[in-house]
Symmetry: C2
Subunit: 284 residues, 2 copies
């Protein structure tokens, strides 16, 4: 596996792969790789002869009071995990490669970024779109992989790619979970054992909503109230939101129908966790 710290180095490696007729698959990450990330690398390797993984903890997607400084940084373990998963090129840029002197251009997502996590993380999705646009322009992949765990992010990136006519295909891979259902997240590493048990209540509330929707319950308000009491048993948890929305528009539907996204965000101490499930109901 080649490790590139500079844009020039990464581009040369990608150009060589392309000259050899290889398809380029790309998995952008912030490191602290877990089984969710490696499932993306697996999928990339299945599709393409050249797999590029990036590790970059992007400052512009963190708010001033968020966990940028304490976000887990585990480059050596990540590097080994990337090798084991079959990565060909690991791009781990320095800050100045991504944000040059006088950097000021931003990719601004539209209304999709104002839903769900939007109000709780102002500027977050602009930071995400901007860094992903930069990384796409550096790597110029044919295909790129994102996780369904970050459902809103995946939707916004698909929108960006469609809107800006970026020549890359986006694949969204299923959320990978621990055996008890907790969605894999780099932030789980920061949960004490008792926090971890509490964190699981988010997933339980999503399952409860899914089961009620499938059973034909048609009051979204009642379902969300039930989700909230599932989580409310733990006083140390602050709920940012629990929502049931149209999976494509993120708008709240009048009645539950079609493809819905059940999504939630909670905070335990300084750790913010998100999770979601998709449920397909008959169309209205």
């Amino acid at each position: 596996m080649l490790v590139a710290r500079s844009i020039d180095h990464a581009r040369r490696a990608v150009a060589e792969a392309r000259a050899a007729g290889q398809q380029i698959a790309f998995v952008p990450t912030m490191g602290a790789l877990h089984a969710g990330h490696t499932s993306l690398i697996d999928a990339a390797r299945d599709s393409s002869a050249c797999v590029v993984v990036s590790i970059y903890v992007n400052p512009t997607q963190f708010g001033p009071n968020e966990d940028f400084t304490i976000y887990p940084r585990t480059f050596e373990a990540d590097s080994e995990a990337a090798i084991r998963a079959g990565t060909h090129l690991l791009f781990a840029p320095t800050d100045s490669e991504i944000y040059p002197v006088n950097d000021q251009t931003r990719v601004h997502p539209g209304p999709l970024a104002e839903k769900l996590c939007g109000p709780y993380r102002p500027g977050h999705f602009e930071g995400v779109c901007t860094v992903v646009a930069k990384l796409f322009n550096i790597i110029q992949p044919d295909i790129a992989y994102f996780g369904q765990k970050d459902a809103q992010q995946a939707l916004i990136i698909q929108r960006m790619v469609e809107d800006l006519r970026m020549p890359v295909r986006i694949i969204v891979c299923p959320t990978v979970r621990d055996p008890d259902g907790l969605a894999m997240s780099s932030r789980n590493a920061r949960l004490a054992p008792k926090d971890r048990a509490m964190a699981l209540s988010l997933y339980k509330s999503l399952c409860l909503a899914r089961d009620r929707l499938i059973a034909g319950e048609n009051s979204l308000g009642r379902i969300i109230a039930a989700m909230r009491s599932t989580i409310g048993e733990h006083a140390e948890i602050r709920v940012d939101y629990l929502s049931i929305v149209d999976a494509a528009t993120l708008e709240t539907p009048l009645t539950p129908a079609g493809r819905l996204l059940i999504a939630g965000a909670i905070r335990i101490g300084r750790t913010r966790l998100i999770d979601n499930l998709v449920v397909d109901l008959p169309t209205a």
Copy 2:
């Protein structure tokens, strides 16, 4: 010359040229081609085996009270001019190719877009950056040509390309002028003969400023006052601004030194005209 109306068609043509080992040069335009545009096409042809010209009157770079609906549209004459200039591919997309259903992503330029024309055309440079990003993603040129007449636009696009790490080289070509000095502009076509004479006062004021700066005049305020009286002789002209700024940052310098941009924007009826000169002074 091939004419492509769709992204697919344009991409196929570009891919063929690239497969043949050709460098791709790109000249994005809004049509109503004049000698300024053809000078860009000439430069593109000199550098590259494959020259792509786009013609698209981009709605998002016009304000609600601007001249989008009356902007000159002269496709047949443009097509002939493009052929004569040696264009290989003319990309003239339909609106839905550039702005798909639910389009919402925008490329937002930073502080550079707030200077000069910025306050007078809110949203203009965001529209410019967004459409140029889309066109770059569609054509994927190696090199792209812009005119110095739109100096602020050229600077903002260079900033965007640098910031977003777009794999394209930007070349800015000199302003092309009529024999009397009037900068070529598609909007000149809308000037009545007496308006044209008035329009020339903008260029005269720029020359006056240039000459005074070179002569060592060091009060920017006095120079701009003199520019304003040059133009003020024509009561039908409204001046948006007359500015002398650092050519790289567009900031007003404390004293005239280094590379300066002398720029102005005036309006005659519904026609808004801009022009500029660059002057190199000794550094402070």
